[in-house]
Symmetry: C2
Subunit: 177 residues, 2 copies
């Protein structure tokens, strides 16, 4: 009936959509649009699942952990503030906080108070942390290249990127992101 997003008239159950919601009938998705939307959903879950699985199997690490290790490894020697980390990764503070706690428990990184600001802290990789990124990076980058770049021409890659950026920018502008 509501095949993921399209309205399909079914004579056996005649109901009236939208008596209260809005005066105008929404613009339902066409068959074409629906295929695109499903492809998008499939992609949104499938790609992260695939890359996460690779990381997990080959490096015993989640995608989030990799992102954090990589971001911290990028930072100036002194360490990073966890708020900056949140900004760099575009994550919520609490998400960062939770993940840092788990990673600290695994001794991948250290959180130590910073003198200048009583509430701040600085994150540094432990030697183990360095080892882990270092050994994980080659396998991960290879996977990423194989899965997203190899199947596309340079032109398609650019087109794809631009389309995604357009969607994101428009959404941000409208406060939907």
């Amino acid at each position: 009936m509501f095949q993921l997003l399209r309205e399909k008239i079914d004579v056996s159950t005649n109901f009236s959509v939208n008596v209260s919601n809005a005066m105008t009938e929404p613009r339902w998705l066409s068959a074409e649009e629906q295929i695109t939307w499903l492809e998008l959903r499939e992609f949104n879950s499938g790609l992260p699942r695939a890359t996460d699985r690779q990381l997990h199997q080959e490096a015993g690490m989640s995608g989030g952990e990799y992102a954090v290790l990589a971001a911290v490894s990028e930072a100036p020697a002194g360490g990073v503030r966890s708020g900056d980390l949140a900004r760099i990764l575009g994550w919520e503070k609490s998400r960062v906080s939770h993940l840092l706690r788990r990673m600290e428990a695994k001794e991948l990184l250290e959180r130590c108070a910073v003198s200048a600001d009583g509430r701040g802290q600085e994150i540094t990789l432990t030697p183990q942390g360095w080892d882990v990124v270092r050994t994980a990076a080659p396998g991960h980058v290879t996977m990423v290249r194989e899965i997203v770049f190899d199947p596309l021409t340079a032109d398609e890659q650019l087109q794809l990127r631009n389309s995604l950026r357009k969607i994101r920018d428009a959404a941000i502008e409208r406060g939907l992101w």
Copy 2:
């Protein structure tokens, strides 16, 4: 150092990558590729987050729940087998099982044993379940249209879909998906 996926030579710490991993240095991502990859990651988390939020606020429902309700509403009157549901949605059986249990508790649907196959079951929407999809659908489809279709031309939509399909097909073929 490992800025999410590119190698950045840092003279202060000279280590040798890949002593054990593989003989050949992996093909690191170029600056361009890296931007694309980050855009992809951002998209993969951002779009579901945005649509889920809309659904949650306006319909008190998760994206997964919407998908199940929609899929079941599409099915022939007799109900769906949960295995078919898993196939339709492309989900794991356990994922479906967990979600069905929660949704049954909310009385959005019913699971009843089917006579023909002793281990099977058929899922049917409750009247409440119907109500919920029916009222949620217009708002959700509007959101989807605004966030992914409105910002793109018809041509871009098609290009996008094709690129995503290419990536997915190649990944499936290689067993990466």
